[in-house]
């Protein structure tokens, strides 16, 4: 009985999604959900390779031209051929649309926000040999939203992320991998490119 009622609820929900989005007043309150694929360009040293990741986000729009994005992503990269890194980001950005028109085919925007990062370096040959740290960051960048339909868009963005946290440096001497952590806080940066798909679910207010 419960399964049937759950199935009916699912059918009612998906049926509602087939209708055009009923906008209550203005674009403020529009809630979207999406998935993203990311590329991280880190310039820490000769050992660093390009990172590739996946994540998701939701957006809540606050006015005609201001949207917010709440995201989480997970990226992995090689550290030369002896170790690898895993980055997990969780954060938020405010997006400001550069055009007044609400539904042009392409809508450029600038963004800025904050994020927290968990970083882990692991030895390729010994999983118990690792170094980790948490950091906070600020980010800023620009992107463009391609409105495929009134409810679905594809967004491509590039953002510069400046992290404040302990710096970890890997080294490999005669086949032995070591990780050294800097004393105190250090600043390190990277560029994050992401392509996301976003679907407008509801107008909340």
């Amino acid at each position: 009985m419960r399964t049937i009622s759950n199935l009916l609820a699912l059918l009612v929900f998906v049926s509602a999604q087939a209708q055009p989005l009923k906008q209550k007043n203005t674009p403020a309150g529009i809630f979207s959900l999406g998935a993203r694929t990311c590329i991280g360009l880190v310039n820490d040293g000769q050992w660093q390779r390009t990172a590739f990741g996946t994540g998701g986000q939701f957006r809540i729009q606050f006015s005609d031209r201001v949207n917010t994005e709440w995201f989480a992503d997970h990226l992995k990269a090689d550290l030369s051929d002896y170790a690898w890194r895993a980055d997990t980001h969780i954060g938020w950005s405010v997006m400001y649309y550069l055009t007044k028109k609400p539904q042009p085919l392409v809508r450029p925007y600038v963004l800025a926000g904050h994020c927290f990062e968990y970083l882990k370096f692991t030895d390729n040959n010994d999983g118990s040999n690792f170094a980790e740290r948490w950091s906070a960051s600020v980010q800023g960048g620009a992107g463009a939203q391609l409105n495929i339909s009134p409810r679905l868009d594809l967004s491509l963005a590039a953002q510069y992320m400046l992290h404040l946290g302990t710096k970890i440096k890997p080294a490999n001497t005669e086949g032995v991998t070591t990780f050294s952590k800097s004393e105190g806080l250090g600043i390190h940066d990277h560029i994050l490119l992401h392509l996301s798909i976003n679907y407008k679910i509801a107008d909340l207010w």
Binding site: L11, V14, A18, A35, T37, F52, K76, A77
Partner: protein, 194 residues
């Protein structure tokens, strides 16, 4: 006699289903699902892998669908397999070009792979199961021959790197071919055909 009657009834139901499908042109509100075997071909290894794959797809409008896919690695058609264990999960959107009962589609789906490579003779290293980010690019065709059923054929390209192998990453990119019978259900009242 019973058998002939049974086949006649099945034929009538089938034909009726196909005739009903002629009115079936508006795909918005359509909920689709399928489960099939998939043949994969790794681009950087000689490994014809076999997967069991399924997906659930929903069409918020005529040209757009949102789809979640899952693939379970079953085995390889090669003596020394590259993979020991692999499950891939993707979620994303597809763009459709419907024409009558035909529908061509393409899409992009970010996702994750839970992968453990097999012991390779070249490195003699055993690997742990790891979660790796992945990306799927899809291209395919569906034929809606009935009110509830469709035939489909598709190609997926998966971008996947296993990090932390002895000499860096293992490139596990794979091209996967799938096809078969799919099922669909309209969650919205259909508009009459013109």
């Amino acid at each position: 006699m019973v058998r002939k009657t049974f086949f006649a009834i099945a034929l009538i139901i089938g034909l009726q289903s196909i005739l009903q499908a002629q009115d079936f042109y508006d795909r918005s509100g359509l909920l689709k699902a399928n489960l099939t075997f998939n043949q994969g071909f790794m681009l950087f290894h000689k490994a014809p892998n076999v997967y069991l794959g399924g997906n659930l797809e929903y069409f918020p409008d005529q040209n757009i669908s949102i789809r979640g896919d899952c693939f379970w690695y079953l085995d390889s058609r090669r003596e020394n397999p590259v993979l020991k264990q692999s499950t891939l999960v993707f979620f994303g959107a597809l763009f459709h070009l419907p024409k009558g009962k035909s529908d061509f589609y393409t899409g992009i789906q970010p996702g994750f792979a839970f992968t453990r490579p097999a012991l390779l003779s070249s490195t003699d290293q055993s690997y742990p199961l790891r979660m790796m980010p992945s990306l799927a690019l899809s291209l395919g065709y569906s034929f809606y021959f009935s009110r509830f059923c469709n035939f489909f054929v598709g190609v997926n390209y998966f971008v996947l790197r296993y990090r932390g192998a002895g000499n860096g990453s293992l490139k596990l990119d794979e091209l996967m071919i799938s096809g078969g019978l799919g099922f669909h259900l309209s969650t919205k009242k259909q508009k009459p055909a013109n």
